[in-house]
Structures are given as C-alpha cells and as structure tokens.
Symmetry: C2
Subunit: 254 residues, 2 copies
Amino acid sequence: MGKAYLVGAGPGAPDLLTVRAAQILTRADMVFHDALVHPQTLALAARARKILVGKRSGRHSTAQSFINKRLVDAARKHGVVVRLKGGDPMLFGRAQEEIDALRKAGIDFEIVPGVTAATAASAELGVSLTRRGLARHVAFVTPRAGRGERRNDWAASVLAADTAVIYMGAGLAEGISAELVARGKAKATPLVLVESATLPERRILRGTLADLPTLALQAGGGPAVLLLGEVLRDAIADRAAVAIPEIQAYLRRA
Amino acid sequence: MGKAYLVGAGPGAPDLLTVRAAQILTRADMVFHDALVHPQTLALAARARKILVGKRSGRHSTAQSFINKRLVDAARKHGVVVRLKGGDPMLFGRAQEEIDALRKAGIDFEIVPGVTAATAASAELGVSLTRRGLARHVAFVTPRAGRGERRNDWAASVLAADTAVIYMGAGLAEGISAELVARGKAKATPLVLVESATLPERRILRGTLADLPTLALQAGGGPAVLLLGEVLRDAIADRAAVAIPEIQAYLRRA
C-alpha cells in the first residue's frame, strides 16, 4: 500500500511552494494535478506520471467522484501518490471528498498546507488583510455553489467582516456587486481585483464595490480574488490613473 | 540602500516555509524575528545578525514603533534585511505598520506570503475548512484588540460564517464561549483547539463550544487556533475517548 498526499501548490509562482511539498513531489510516483499548477512545480515530480484532473471554468473537467476513485486506486498500486491543488487544499479545494474516500478505503494520507491566494494577493498589493484599529476579522467566501447545495449566504459573511476576500467571483461580478449593495454595503467600499497573483501576467484592478462589474470586464481568464474593505483605501487612491484605459476597454467590448 | 523583506515563516514546522522565503533567508544580512520562529528556520540565515523582536503573551516584547524604526535603519545600512513573522505576515501580523514605515522612508520592500495557522491546523486534523454542501465561507478572527481600538465585533463575523478560525483566543476561552452562546451560537457547535500546529509538541483538543473553557485549561502555552463549525462534526466524534484524562487534568489544576 502506498500513501496519498494532498498538497497545496500555492498561489501561482513555483517558488511559493513549501519546502515539504517540493520534497514530496521529488519522490512522487504519480501526480494528479489541477489545471493551473505551474509547469515548473510539476517538473519537480521528475519521475512521476502526471495526470491533469483539475477543473477550470468553461472547460472540460474530471468528475469529483472519478478523481476520488483514481486517487484510491493509485495509492493502492503506487508508493507515493500526490494530489496537487492550487493554493491551499483546505480552502475551496473539495479536499474533504478526497479525504473521505481515502479514509473509507483505509489508505494512509497526509495533507500539506499551502499559501492561499488571499494572502498572496495581499502581499502583492502591500496591504495587510488585518490592520490594527481598522480590521480585525477577515471573511474568505465564494458565491459559487454546486447544484442542489444548501443556502450559501456568502453575502452575510462579507457584510459581517472588516475585510473580505471573494474567491472565484470575477465571473459573477454583477451579481456580487448588486447583492452586497442591496444589503447595505457602501458602493464606495474599496475593492481590488487581483488576477493571477504572483505570476508575471498578474493584473491588479482597483476601484470600489460599485465599479466591480467594470473591473471584471477588464480581467482576463486567470484565477482571481476580490479583496474588499477599508484596509484597501490607500491602495485604490491611484485608480483615477487607470480609469481611461478601463473605459476604453469597456467600450471596445460592449 | 538595501531592501526589506517581510517574510511569513509559516505555521511552525521549518519545512513548511516557502522556497522563496528560504532563499531570501540564505542571503539575509540581518533578520528581525518573532519569538516563535523555529531555530532551524533561523539557521537558514547563516550569515545574518539575528534580532528577536517578537511578542509573546505575558513576556517582554519590543514596542511596534521601535521595530518599525529599527527595520528602516537596518535597510538603510544593510543589503538584505528580513522581518520574519510566524504564519503569514498579512493576517494578524501588524505588517501594515511596518509597510507604512518602509514606504514613508522610501525603502524598497517585498512581502513573501506564508502558510497561516488556520490551514495548517485544518491539514493536521484532516478536516477541510470549506466543504461542498456544508461550508462555503470561513471567518478568520481574533477577539484581541489593542488599547483604544475601535469596536471589534469578531463575534458577528463568527456568527455569519459557516466555519470560523479564532486566532490568539485560547487565553480568552471563557469570554469567547459566553459571548457566542449569548448571541445564539449553539453550545453543541463542534470545536477543536489546535496548539502548536505542525510541531512535534502539538496538541489537539476536541469538544464543543460549551467545552471551550475546559479545553483551554488543558492547553499549554503554545500558539493556538480554535476551529469552530459543523465541518468538525466527525473530528470531535472521538472526544469521549479523551474525556477522562481531560477531566483528571482539570481536577489537578482546579
């Protein structure tokens, strides 16, 4: 019997992998990886068979139950099997379904945490998510839910928190902005969209909650987080400088 | 002029440092570090002068304004100056005060994100903080506030979130439990206290929100996070097995 590792690949840049994750990858016999894991990270698993199973908006993806089954089967046959996920496995990674399948099958497993997109984006902006005297709690939410999922009141969590980070929200910009404003969040709340954090192609789009739909039109198709809250007040101060190209791009697309 | 790096040392274990952080440490001329950074992590900065500036409950600590000043002075004199913080610098790390001081002084700086205690504790438990159909939003809060700080309604954030992680809360267990129960959180909400996550001396104490004061008595003085929410239901199922030693320890201390 082998062992399965659920490993966080970090936010994007290959050197934001942990040392432990890098060491496990070099020993891996088989790696099941998400679509957005960096090629240099995968290259660490030099002798492993690599299988893409990740989901990505609008593209073909492997069903979760099939991933669970393949992971269990592989761990039965191989020594070191890695399930490599973007960011941290325990935040929006559907890790629990894989953990439950491994437990049920009696397979030894270990989870290796990673740097999540929220703090990577915060680092790139130079804006701490918490700030003495201003922000002492942070919500990590996603407005996305699976079919038939129970009520997901992500907005309540955003409204209660000093700072909010919204994962997988760029494609739902209109709805997010409308919902939060309808429930009393100020339109002028500072908001920054960070796409492809820590990668050379990253984009940082600055504005307010009211600007979110326009900012989202500016974004490309990379993974993005939305950061929202008063801690970002200074970070959006230069948005006037980017307003004209934003409007031009909007007009081109409209 | 040198450059300052605000670096996350990760949750405890030295191999949960990022590759980037490790590389910067090996080049460091000077390292200002928190009290709880692992000696093996510090040892990577082989040629650096190392200065302890971190805070720890109940011990002498360096005033933040003095840390800011020393960081700026050092970056003016040295090549590579590192401010090494436990976990991720942008969550509960008072990074903004240091960033503002560096910006004001015109010093080049970079922030290197790290693995935060919440996801490390979650990895150790094998319980994802989010779970399809059950938990789609997570609050990271601390009930601690500085003198004269504005209203910090950490409890509102905990109440709104599916899963909550409370940082620096073990010493305030009575108040946390009382406040949340008074505001309608079920006493039976599953709760796990994880102390010294990822280190050999870690302790995992399982119970419910009502048990929190008793669990906290069991904890040692290490850094701890409290995880709270329905995702932990299975993880507390074996608490009966630990109830007797817990009660014995409680009686010994009472």
